[in-house]
């Protein structure tokens, strides 16, 4: 494979490989070889429901029917609508099939061959049960605007030509040959892009700091240690469009004066690691990474560094220690990474989603990016919708969209028609936002104003059956387990917080404990060394603020209104409803239910282990949970 020496050569290559994706983006065959494309989602969610096997079977069937030269089957990255997976798309017809199984493959191939549509595999709107053919007509996709996810689910992530055919690496070519280093930084600064990993620091500002630092060696680091439970956007970008991150890192390398990039990625993401390795190799073969890129004297190489399962390594200084083979404990700041980072050299760390925005900003300009989103939070944000919501998946929406639109329009509302209680944003560092704030326009600052944060963009919806005290306890368990132990407020303070919460959920809490939770939380926020500790009390403080009544019910009445805290539960038999069938007594694992056949049964609360078996088995719903 010959190396690309100039932007013109890249554009020529784009012309020659354009046919590869024309079916998918222009809905016409163009210069491509195939008349149809079948795209099978190869994201983690769909792969868990056999999309790999479906892909293999389609390929096998196409070959055996002699259609292998006319119809191409392509495995793509995640297309976001995980709830409905496995997803299969057909082009140029632009048909979007959901919940496809191995048994559908034969029918699918016949329909593709004849340009027909299989109605039963289309998405049906829940309200009217109408079939929807094109993905952009599905409510889940209507409000979305894709910048970071622009290529995910469209290109083959294991073929760099697919990326190049859609203009890939032209931003790097343009930056290297037409824009000065200072102007690249100015462009990123002017665009208003803020870090998508959590804190929301201006990306251009970070680049400028690294640019201004003197050093014989500088590093560009990609933070792919996506640790927030329930957030999987970074993984999807790396699995679906790895080249966009490589291209962006090289642009940053040029701007700040670095020739080496490191991607720190979780070892738990084997597929993303594999695809990155392929992308790096292909980019090197094409001369888009390596020595003298685009015929200039700029050189840049990228290597991978595997994490080993420590949440705190998402903190940039802990991350750098881990890359150096040390325990991932955070360092004191200052000095900032831009001054003394990896191996004590000036370093710039950005998150995966931040990187994925960069090439588009270089190509389309700062004003274009600024025109999207809100004044202080430009652009879009990818959210991972999960929990008690109908449409679980990855969505990319403009900043400033009301929370209500995300939950009810994109997300399709709460599962099972239950009442919305809260949405947790920002992972273990974030907070719970109640129904009264549903009209909040989502951006960095508005989320902070209600006691939460953007974080990486996880959004977990909770319904009326979720106990907020229990949720706060769940997050504290997480932070206690993941605290690195270096500083006392985080190591000891969070453990004390957890102990108080355990006391409350066991029914031993007092109102004094609620005050102590609040006071201790504030100390931990003020005194912790890194963001993990500083933000760990957020789930406690936000639930105390918005769901104080629930805490009061636990400590004052010793009741859990949602029935989640087992120790506060009591099962009794409603004598009005009991018909004396004895089913409860027969099923009770600890034999604490007694009575006579056709008489009234009673539960011995002393012996009861609150397993809930009788509650589920009673045919007359005579067992009551209090």
């Amino acid at each position: 494979m010959s190396k690309i020496k100039s932007l013109d050569e890249l554009k020529n290559l784009q012309q020659s490989v354009q046919g590869a994706t024309e079916l998918r983006v222009k809905f016409e065959q163009g210069s491509g070889k195939y008349r149809k494309h079948i795209l099978v989602c190869g994201g983690t969610g769909c792969m868990s429901s056999e999309s790999n096997e479906i892909h293999a079977k389609i390929q096998e069937e196409l070959n055996s029917r002699g259609l292998g030269e006319q119809i191409q089957v392509i495995k793509t990255g995640c297309f976001g609508f995980c709830e409905q997976g496995p997803i299969v798309k057909v082009f140029p017809d632009d048909i979007f099939y959901v919940k496809v199984t191995l048994n559908d493959v034969n029918e699918l191939i016949e329909s593709v061959d004849k340009s027909e549509t299989i109605e039963r595999l289309l998405y049906h709107t829940p309200e009217t049960n109408e079939p929807v053919t094109r993905h952009d007509q599905i409510p889940f996709y209507k409000s979305q605007q894709r910048i970071a996810l622009r290529n995910c689910g469209i290109i083959n992530p294991e073929d760099i030509n697919d990326y190049i055919s859609l203009g890939g690496y032209q931003a790097l070519g343009k930056a290297l040959t037409e824009i000065s280093r200072e102007d690249v930084i100015k462009l990123i600064k002017d665009s208003g892009l803020r870090g998508r990993g959590g804190a929301g620091v201006s990306t251009g500002f970070k680049w400028e700091m690294a640019y201004r630092s003197d050093g014989d060696k500088k590093y560009v680091i990609c933070n792919a240690d996506e640790g927030d439970p329930g957030a999987f956007m970074d993984r999807s970008i790396l699995e679906g469009d790895p080249n966009s991150v490589l291209e962006a890192m090289a642009i940053c390398g040029y701007a700040i004066g670095s020739n080496e990039g490191v991607i720190y990625i979780r070892a738990e993401y084997p597929l993303a690691v594999e695809r990155l390795k392929i992308a790096i190799k292909q980019a090197e073969e094409k001369g888009l990474l390596g020595e003298g890129i685009f015929g200039t004297d700029f050189s840049f190489k990228v290597s991978l560094s595997l994490g080993a399962g420590a949440f705190v390594c998402g903190e940039e200084t802990a991350l750098m220690n881990s890359v150096q083979g040390l325990r991932g404990e955070p360092r004191m700041k200052p000095p900032f990474p831009a001054q003394a980072g990896l191996w004590n050299k000036p370093s710039n760390v950005n998150n995966v989603e931040t990187w994925a925005n960069i090439p588009q900003i270089i190509i389309n300009g700062a004003d274009w990016f600024k025109s999207i989103g809100t004044e202080k939070s430009a652009g879009t944000k990818v959210f991972a919708l999960a929990g008690q919501i109908n449409n679980v998946g990855l969505v990319e929406v403009p900043m400033g969209i009301p929370l209500r639109d995300i939950i009810y329009e994109v997300g399709g509302g709460v599962r099972g028609g239950k009442a919305f209680k809260a949405v947790q944003t920002g992972g273990p560092s974030g907070g719970c936002i109640p129904a009264s704030q549903l009209d909040l326009k989502i951006d960095y600052d508005s989320l902070q104003s209600v006691g939460s944060m953007m974080g990486s963009g996880g959004m977990i919806v909770m319904d009326e059956n979720d106990c907020m005290v229990n949720i706060a306890k769940y997050y504290l368990e997480f932070t206690v387990e993941e605290s690195c132990g270096k500083c006392t407020p985080c190591r000891v303070g969070n453990r004390r917080l957890l102990e108080i919460l355990e006391k409350i959920t066991k029914g031993n809490g007092t109102e004094q404990d609620l005050q102590e939770l609040k006071d201790l939380s504030e100390v931990i926020q003020d005194a912790s060394l890194c963001a993990l500790g500083q933000t760990a009390p957020n789930p406690v403080l936000s639930t105390l603020k918005y769901f104080y009544d629930e805490y009061l019910a636990h400590v004052r009445d010793k009741k859990c209104p949602s029935g989640k805290c087992v120790d506060l539960l009591k099962y009794i038999v409603d004598p009005e409803k009991c018909i004396g069938c004895s089913i409860c007594a027969k099923n009770c694992p600890v034999s604490c239910i007694s009575g006579e056949l056709k008489g009234k049964y009673t539960i011995d609360s002393e012996k009861c282990v609150k397993c809930g078996v009788c509650f589920g088995k009673c045919p007359k719903k005579a067992i009551v949970r209090q």
Binding site: S48, C82, Q84, G307, A308, S322, Q388, G393, Q424, I460
Partner: protein
């Protein structure tokens, strides 16, 4: 000759290919766990010797990261996702059920070394929540009632 001599020899082969030993501790530990399956003290000491770092430092790093195991794992690795999305859809109850059935706690291995039960934080398949993985295979939308069937599935390999 010790129990781990062949594996240590293989690990040595890998260390010999590294161009520099500085900062390579985690890389070497990943490789060692890959080869041996876990990180026995003997292997840790050997790594310390080869990388010219104190054994205490190796131990410090090994115990810091949850990915590294200082005890052997069971033949069948059952992991229940306790990420938030799975948690609010009831994965806590599923972990309890496995624990009850296998007679081991989360993070433990059964005495016959057939099963290990672990919790994991988000495999990114939140659409299928709650999720259980068994030897890498993902089971989605698991209920407490499915635990029996999953164990039967696994039992075939045990």
């Amino acid at each position: 000759m010790s129990e781990f001599s062949p594996q240590i020899a293989e690990l040595d082969g890998f260390i010999d290919t590294l161009d520099s030993l500085e900062g390579k501790l985690i890389v070497v530990l990943h490789k060692a766990q890959n080869i041996v399956g876990w990180l026995p003290t003997e292997v840790q000491n050997h790594i310390a010797h080869r990388l010219r770092v104190p054994a205490s430092k190796v131990y410090g790093v090994v115990t810091f990261y949850s990915f590294f195991n200082t005890k052997p794992k069971g033949k069948n690795k059952i992991s229940v996702c306790l990420g938030t999305a799975c948690f609010v859809r009831g994965s806590g109850d599923i972990a309890d059920e496995f624990s009850k059935r296998l007679g081991i706690g989360v993070g433990e291995t059964s005495e016959d070394k057939l099963y290990s039960l672990d919790s994991i934080r988000c495999v990114g398949a939140c659409g299928l929540a709650p999720v259980v993985t068994v030897n890498g295979k993902v089971y989605g939308r698991v209920t407490v009632k499915d635990v029996d069937n999953i164990l039967k599935d696994v039992g075939g390999n045990a």
